[in-house]
Amino acid sequence: MKNEKVEKKYIPEIPAKEIDELKSTIQASSEKIMAENIERMKKTDPKRPQAMKYFDEISNLFGQRQRELAAEKEKGKKIIGYMCLFAPTELILAADAIPVRVNSGWYDTSKIGDRVVPVEVCPVIRSTIGAKMIGLSPFLEQSDALISVLTCDGMTKLGEILSDYKTIWEMNIPRVKDAPHSLRFWDDEIINMKKQIEQFTGNKITRKSLKAAIEQSQKATRVFRRLQDLRKGNPIIMGRDAMLVNQAYLWDDKERWTEKASALCDELEKRAERKDWVCPPDTPRVLVTGTPMFWPDSWKVPNLVEEADPKGIIVADELCSGERILNDPVGVDEWTMDDMLNAIGERYLMASTCPCFTSSDGNEDRINWLLNKVKESNVQGVIYYVTRGCMLYAMEYTRVKKALDKINIPMYYLDTEYTREDVGQMKTRVEAFLEMLTARADM
């Protein structure tokens, strides 16, 4: 752990009293917002599945999970946080440590982060910095180390800034993933990370433990895909509920999540048999893509979509806080240590469709993934959600628009910030877009 007396490179001095005040205010308001969001989701779907109760509880970031992690730490388990989905969670699990994603979804902390970096920086980054400055995030606070994958500019520097507080392990990621030397390089990074984790936790990652961890995550992927498939048909679950379930994987206990999500899928299947749709089947089906939307405050836009007049339903998303989390399984050929590590490396590098990659043939797999998703889930419109400062998604917009124009699917560029002030403006746009989708569907 970093010595607190060592001079901080980035973070200014803040009086402890101010930190406490800010933390208690923002935490109180955040708890209210989380409860409010859950109420709103309940209202939209009066016959919400019973299995969602568990996810409502676990979605309270300051509640059960925080206590559980504290208890695990007492027992001596290490908690390893990460910011980007490239961190190899299977390795962490195999070393008997707990992986948890620490990106912040609190709007209010982004203003605190403004003291360290300018407002032009991606708000997710500013919010995470702010959350650390006042010690708001239970996961960030309890992490013993953080894996910082150098994907976009923001993430690269975030690791550096957070090194004022925590042990940071950087993972270099090659930005052209098609080249064979890229995969070799990334495989080296994975091996390096394995050694790092082993040393830190004091536990050796054996073939048995890694096999168990990979099998667990394959099981989770299966349940996840089951949920995905269920959403492809007529509306069976509101998008926000599914997004919450998906995102809960990032901080929940993986085995328990698999169990509870599986129970949810069972319930949804029964619902499908009864043809008990959650909203009329002709509700406009929307796909959201862009900057990740973290619980709780970033539910702003999904709330608008699903409570608008006319109502829409989010049937799929291409977000790294949503359907990218568990979309790909680790494909192991022969269960030797080397093959498992190779499989892990490949799954995290090759299967990812983050826009931070590029290639001479134009990063096609990302566009193809989106097009495929649009077709399979019968999506009628795409909302391209970008927070101001997210260069990668903002720059890719024209390309994605052209691709969607070719298949005649409308897309709307929704450009917003980590603020509640623009809800009115967002509402106008979202409602106009949904209106457009309804009119098109009527034709």
Binding site: Q218, E334, M337
Partner: protein, 327 residues
């Protein structure tokens, strides 16, 4: 006389029974869907191995096999390489042994692999040229064409030896040119030709080194022999001609839009075929793919990789959604 027939019938029944039992086992009891086809393939290879042994004991002219290979290649691609070739079976047994010992496979560097592919053509060219060269070196006699052809085909280096030698199963029913160990006749592709060409003693020494190298390489590099096996070259040659672009009918079809370029197909391929990964959709054109279908088995997206005969799909990659079916 009657005993021979009964022996034949017995062998056939045992063969059929083993085959059926094996296939049933695979299809009903194998829980792990990711290796179902692989196990099915092993069973088929075992059956083919035994069947070929039996067929060879009928002492049919080897020319028939040459024609058979050529025809089957046109329609089924290198299907026989992956599912019927006895030498392939030997290599797959080695793989099973290696996995049991927990040893990891290695991959050849891409460039070296490419060189091996080219070596195929060299071997075929040499074998095709040698008999013609030999024929010219001998003093010309007044032979008509039929006699000349007969002499060519009866000579020590029959031109098609190169193309079908690997087909000779390691355990053979005949005793000539085979090594008898405990009443079982062992032979090995090309050993016969090496010994003929280099003389008995040196030939045997070279042959032993050859056997050792190829067996050892196949232990570490999966399907090592297949990369330069000239038996498979007929497809590569035929495919170049415009009229034969439809060949083979049995091929792998890729849906470019569904492919996420995750690279699993490239990694698990025993022959290190990269065309499935690199080609942009449609019919995969490759002269190395042995249709072992490992790529389609491991592909994590439904209907991305399909195995088609013409336009009809016989197998396709599945969504990892399906939990293992527990009976």
């Amino acid at each position: 006389m009657a005993w021979e027939y009964i022996g034949d019938i017995l062998r056939l029944t045992v063969l059929g029974g083993l085959g059926a039992a094996g296939i049933l086992t695979v299809l009903l009891w194998k829980k792990n869907l990711a290796t179902k086809i692989t196990f099915l393939r092993l069973v088929v290879q075992a059956v083919a191995f035994t069947a070929l042994f039996y067929v060879f004991s009928l002492k049919l002219p080897l020319l028939y096999f040459f024609i058979f290979i050529f025809a089957i290649t046109l329609f089924l691609g290198r299907f026989y390489c992956g599912w019927l070739c006895p030498f392939g079976f030997v290599m797959d047994i080695e793989v099973m042994l290696r996995k049991a010992l927990g040893i990891r496979y290695r991959i050849l560097p891409e460039r070296f692999n490419g060189i091996l592919h080219k070596l195929r053509y060299v071997i075929v060219a040499v074998f095709l040229a040698l008999p013609i060269a030999l024929w010219f070196l001998q003093p010309p006699q007044n032979l008509n064409f039929a006699d000349a052809m007969a002499k060519l085909l009866a000579g020590p280096f029959r031109p098609y030896t190169a193309l079908i030698d690997p087909l000779i199963p390691v355990v053979v029913p005949w005793t000539s040119n085979a090594v008898n160990v405990a009443h079982i006749n062992f032979t090995y592709p090309y050993v016969q030709d090496i010994i003929f060409w280099a003389g008995q003693n040196i030939g045997e020494a070279i042959a032993l080194v050859f056997i050792g190298l190829t067996l050892a390489s196949s232990f570490v590099f999966r399907r090592f022999w297949c990369r330069f096996c000239p038996t498979g070259v007929s497809l590569a040659v035929v495919n170049r001609f415009k009229g034969f672009k439809w060949a083979p009918l049995l091929h792998i079809e890729k849906d470019e839009e569904k492919c996420t370029k995750c690279g699993v197909c490239k990694r698990v391929c025993p022959a290190q075929v990269t065309e499935v990964y690199e080609q942009k959709g449609g019919k995969i054109n490759t002269s190395m793919c042995m249709l072992c279908l490992r790529c389609a088995e491991m592909c994590p997206y439904a209907e991305t990789l399909k195995v088609n005969i013409g336009n009809k799909t016989v197998f396709k990659s599945r969504n990892w959604l399906e939990p293992p079916k527990v009976e």
